[in-house]
């Protein structure tokens, strides 16, 4: 096959087929079969993606419209795919990590009844399909189709165990918050349409149409797009759904809520960097939001005791870093961090999954401890993940995070401040990750006896992906070694056709200093955690600041008080008062008035001839008056 790009449409279609097979045949397929189908299709599209990647690397690219989606004189909109360096990279991440997680799931979900098992895989496939649509889409609408599709899948998968109400609550929350973002996205799209009547990337980003936009247009559109991103990628103010989303099966959290979907926002902004770079204001906003999110989430993560919640908040925090990178114009770094983060965060989620699996569904780390001796592979791989995310030199996290920090430092004016905060956040990250690690894997076991008796290392189907991801988390960084370390940032060069890497370059000497500084501090943080938690016995009831963190700054409560409750109250008011009493009351009131009039008017007819004649005479008077004098 000479030009693999001809067959690029297979990449999304294969998972779709898998979805259909698993979905329709869910009653007849055996677990094994549906597992194989589910993972197989993803593997297939992974292979194709690799080939595509190779092709693209050697300068190929595809921009193809398959059929007219909507085609009217004021809007031509085809069902078009665009495969270039950026999307091909994401294709790799999605299909690759996706495949591993499918495999992992076959074991993790093994206790499910067959039909639910099939349902689960059909959902996963559907997700992969939508995600691929999102990144391959050649215009904003196709991207939006994927965008909402992944939202739907995450809704379905979070609510996968739909019998428990909190799961479905979480699912609804996730969907609605995403919708809020989506509205922003949509409005941006409408804005673009209204301005240039097309949403095709090449058209929109072409200099000609960029010229058509006024400054306000640019700022407005980019801000709205960013609102969309905050929804999907869990940034302030729309991040609270992500921690709750942990209600879903752990592999789902790994795939959707760590590796792929949540990075859609980054992809979207990176994709439309041509627009964003034009709006100084938006960039600043993104920087601030990203930084704030990173700090806030990290601070919360310190005090969480649910193993998945900790990871969730760390995800939010890491996403914050990525947005920080975007905000500072450091797109490459952002994408780079997406890549590495996908590796080590997926790794850690899967690891936590294996732990939970072993603990029989237990998620509270206060009831764990000393798991190292029971499940070596998990423990080791998890440790690697922690090291990676903390940014220990040599591991993938180091390179990407360091590039972000450096980029931030380089920002003119307030760069130093940003850097300081970001660095502090990095330290927090190291601290809470290792808090988690030590509490979970070291010390002595604090759970019940049958749990302890039940402890075991997970099956190969789960450990192998762990190992693979661990390896990737280590080596993944070497595609982006900065010049300072004698590398030639392969990633940056690869992406250069689409993404200009960070504008402001630092002196190598400065970079060395920054690296050293961060490394030292991180190590210190880790040691601190080691001392504090190496044999953890459970801590007393949190007080003051600690409690504030434990309760996540009461953000959920505030939202409830400020948005949810008033809205419900308003609706109730509208329903009870305005609707029933007001409008309908008026309508019925007319009827009642007529009835009343009827009852009164008939009293005039009192049966007295005298009165009748009198009224006639009076009527006559009136007529005479009108006729003769009016």
């Amino acid at each position: 096959m000479s030009n693999i790009l001809e067959f690029v449409w297979l990449i999304p279609v294969l998972p779709l087929i898998g979805f259909l097979i698993n979905g329709l045949g869910r009653n007849n397929l055996s677990k094994g079969l549906s597992g194989i189908i589910g993972s197989g299709v993803v593997l297939a599209s992974f292979i194709i993606s690799v080939l595509v990647f190779v092709q693209v690397k050697s300068g190929g690219s595809l921009d193809n419209s398959y059929f007219d989606f909507i085609n009217i004189s004021s809007l031509q909109l085809g069902f078009e795919f665009k495969v270039d360096v950026l999307s091909s990279l994401f294709l790799l991440i999605i299909t690759g990590v996706g495949f591993l997680i499918h495999v992992y799931s076959t074991a993790y979900m093994h206790d499910e009844p067959a039909k639910d098992f099939a349902k689960y895989f059909s959902y996963l496939n559907l997700f992969v399909f939508s995600m691929l649509l999102l990144v391959m889409g050649g215009n904003f609408v196709i991207m939006f189709i994927g965008w909402e599709g992944v939202g739907l899948c995450s809704y379905l998968l979070i609510g996968y165990w739909y019998k428990k109400e909190e799961n479905t609550d979480a699912a609804n929350k996730a969907f609605v918050m995403n919708r809020i973002g989506d509205l922003g996205f949509l409005l941006a799209v409408f804005w673009i349409i209204a301005k240039i009547g097309s949403v095709n990337y090449d058209v929109v980003f072409s200099a000609a149409s960029l010229a058509k936009f006024s400054a306000t247009d640019i700022t407005g559109i980019t801000l709205l797009l960013f609102v969309g991103a905050t929804g999907k990628s869990a940034q302030i103010p729309l991040y609270t759904w992500l921690p709750d989303a942990m209600a879903g099966p752990t592999p789902v959290s790994a795939l959707i809520h760590a590796a792929t979907m949540v990075t859609a926002g980054i992809y979207m902004i990176a994709r439309s960097n041509a627009l964003f770079s034009l709006s100084e204001f938006t960039m600043t906003v993104i920087t601030i939001i990203g930084l704030a999110t990173a700090l806030l989430a990290a601070s919360i993560a310190i005090r969480q005791n649910d193993i998945k919640k900790v990871l969730a908040y760390s995800t939010v925090s890491q996403l914050g870093f990525m947005f920080l990178a975007l905000g500072t114009g450091n797109y490459v770094a952002a994408v780079f961090h997406v890549l590495t983060h996908a590796f080590f965060k997926a790794l850690m989620f899967l690891g936590s999954g294996s732990v939970i699996h072993a603990m029989g569904g237990e998620q509270d780390i206060r009831n764990m401890g000393g798991l190292h001796k029971h499940m070596k592979i998990t423990s080791v791989t998890f440790l690697i993940g922690c090291l990676a995310i903390s940014g220990i030199p040599g591991l993938s996290g180091f390179f990407s995070k360091d590039e972000i920090l450096a980029g931030a430092f380089g920002v003119h004016g307030y760069g130093k401040v940003i850097y300081a905060i970001a660095l502090f956040t990095a330290l927090l990250t190291a601290f809470y990750m290792f808090r988690l690690y030590f509490i979970t894997f070291t010390g002595k076991f604090r759970g019940t006896h049958e749990q302890e008796h039940h402890l075991h290392e997970s099956p190969a189907a789960m450990t192998i992906p762990l190992v693979i991801l661990a390896v990737l988390s280590i080596v993944g960084g070497y595609i982006g070694v900065p010049e300072a370390l004698g590398g030639n940032h392969a990633l940056a060069q690869y992406l250069s056709p689409v993404l200009k890497s960070a504008a402001h370059h630092l002196e190598h000497s400065t970079e060395y200093i920054l690296m050293a500084l961060s490394t030292i501090l991180v190590v210190a943080a880790i040691l601190f955690a080691w001392m504090k938690f190496k044999n953890y016995q459970g801590e007393g009831e949190a007080t003051g600041f600690g409690r504030l963190l434990q309760n996540k700054w009461y953000v959920d409560e505030i939202y409830t008080a400020v948005v949810t409750k008033p809205l419900a109250a308003l609706s109730g008011l509208l329903d009870r008062v305005v609707e029933k009493k007001g409008i309908d009351g008026f309508v019925n009131g007319v009827g009642r008035a007529v009835n009343y009039g009827s009852r009164q008017l008939r009293l005039v007819q009192n049966g007295q001839v005298g009165v009748y004649v009198l009224l006639m005479v009076i009527g006559m008077l009136v007529l005479f008056f009108i006729q003769l004098f009016a």
Binding site: F67, D68, S73, T168, V176, R179, L186, A194
Partner: protein, 497 residues
């Protein structure tokens, strides 16, 4: 065919005759079969009509013009244009689905029931094909009367009062429209009939469009027409008849009301209001749009706190209709195109919703969200269908509603960004109440009420299946329906003054 009998006539007479014959059927089964059969034949006819769309070539197939009240310039003038064809198809498609999906409900005196249903069908068809104002008004009322009897005979507890309110409300509205029609008529130019006879005025749509009206006259005429249509749709604040009626009416009728009958109002706007009174339309457009948008948000909010499933759907329908009405008045290509598509999509989707609700109510006997739960365990297939339809209802991409709403919103945005922003809130609110409904009814643990629920039978599977097929067909490849309605849309916006 052609010169002998035309599509519009077939579409009207077939259900009419079938309906009348149903009245004389003693056996319920016979009537039911008759109804299903007749509606399917009509569907076939309507499908057939799609092969003769070319106006120039097949005029004799699509338009018919009998002399009727010649000396007052009215003739039995019917014709199929793009919009009309689409809506007749919707009607023709809905009724078989409705009959089949609700065939398990057994009504007392079924002959009358199915007869009236078919009469309603005939009336609706007439409304969609009439090109003569008087004929239009005739069918407009004709569609109403059978529904009145259907609702107050076979409805719920407070059926009589509720239906009566609905009737008087609508009747008053249509009478106002009648006054409007008369007034316009008095200003129409002379009309020459084929056989040379002349009447000083005429009811034909063309003459109405040619009527000489001062701007001042147009302004109050506009309201005479608009109120009639607004009540039918219904648009806030003329909507209060609707939730009660949907709640009380037998579900089969509710499907007709919400799926097809509300389209009469929108169709009226497309076919009559805008063409006859373009100046007034553009003058009041913003006012109407604002009214609609208030209605959209208002209805969505109320839907969020509804415990009664039927009322929930009713209010969501108000919101959707409001959006369509608003985008019709935004009157740019995007919005109108979207509205036209949505005319069809909304009909399909909401009928699907009702089918599911009907199944639930029939099996459990309750229609209150708070009393249901855990249906998904008992009836997974039903749940899947419901979820798909519900998602279509909140305009998820790749479903039919997305295309319509996307176009409508972008059209509104083009008209005025803030319209789109305000109306866009409904996207979020819709998600809130729809998901809440799904969660409370289908997820969670089963309870005493829902324990007995069975999964759906073949008939319902089939009808829901058809709906779902349409949902995705129009969702993935909307271009066909767009191609089909393009000219109509461009013709309409061309009227904009």
């Amino acid at each position: 065919m052609g010169s002998y009998i035309t599509f519009p006539e077939l579409l009207i007479w077939l259900p009419l005759l079938a309906g009348i014959s149903c009245f004389f059927m003693k056996k319920g089964e016979a009537a039911k079969t008759m109804a299903i059969l007749a509606s399917c034949i009509v569907l076939a006819v309507s499908v057939g009509s799609f092969f003769y769309t070319d106006a120039a070539q097949y005029a004799s197939y699509n338009t018919v013009n009998y002399y009727w009240l010649k000396h007052i310039g009215s003739s039995f003038f019917l014709g199929l244009d793009e919009t009309g064809r689409l809506l007749t198809f919707l009607t023709a498609l809905s009724f078989p689905i409705i009959f089949i999906s609700t065939q398990k409900n057994n009504y007392k005196n079924p002959g009358a029931f199915y007869g009236l249903m078919l009469l309603t069908m005939a009336g609706l068809m007439g409304v969609f094909v009439a090109i003569d104002a008087l004929v239009f008004y005739f069918f407009w009322e004709l569609a109403l009367i059978p529904v009145y009897f259907l609702c107050s005979r076979w409805g719920g507890e407070q059926r009589i009062q509720t239906t009566f309110k609905f009737f008087v409300y609508t009747f008053a509205g249509s009478l106002l429209m009648l006054v409007g029609i008369m007034y316009v008529y008095m200003h129409t130019p002379q009309r020459m009939f084929g056989d040379g006879s002349v009447s000083d005025h005429s009811f034909a749509l063309q003459s109405f469009m040619g009527a000489l009206l001062q701007p001042g006259e147009q302004q109050w005429l506009f309201w005479l027409f608009f109120i009639a249509f607004a009540i039918k749709m219904p648009v806030f604040p003329f909507h209060t008849w609707q939730p009660g009626t949907y709640d009380q009416a037998p579900t089969a009728v509710t499907m007709v009301l919400s799926g097809v009958m509300v389209k009469m109002g929108l169709f009226g706007v497309i076919r009559w209001l805008i063409p006859i009174l373009p100046a007034a339309t553009s003058m009041f457009a913003n006012l109407v749009i604002i009214l609609c948008i208030i209605g959209i948000i208002y209805a969505s909010c109320i839907a969020m706190v509804q415990d009664n499933l039927k009322k929930l759907v009713a209010y969501s329908s108000i919101a959707h209709i409001g959006l369509m009405c608003a985008s019709l008045f935004a009157l740019n290509e995007l919005s109108v195109q979207g509205a036209v598509i949505q005319l069809f999509s909304h009909g399909i989707n909401i009928i699907g919703m009702w089918i599911v609700i009907d199944l639930l109510e029939r099996q459990t006997g309750v229609k209150h969200i708070s009393q249901l739960g855990g249906v998904a365990q008992k009836a997974p297939v039903l749940t899947i269908f419901l979820v798909i339809i519900a998602l279509a209802n909140i305009a998820l991409p790749l479903t039919n509603a997305f295309v319509g709403e996307f176009l409508m919103f972008s059209g509104l945005f083009k008209a005025n960004a803030w319209y789109a922003v305000a109306a866009g809130l409904s996207i979020i609110l819709a998600a809130v109440y729809t998901l809440r409904m799904i969660q409370k009814v289908f997820y969670g643990e089963t309870n005493a009420v829902t324990a007995c629920v069975k999964d759906i039978s073949f008939a319902e599977k089939a009808s829901l299946g058809v709906i779902v097929v349409f949902i995705f067909l129009l969702g993935v490849m909307p271009q066909h329906i767009i191609e089909f309605t393009k000219e109509a849309v461009t013709a309409l916006i061309a009227l904009k003054k």
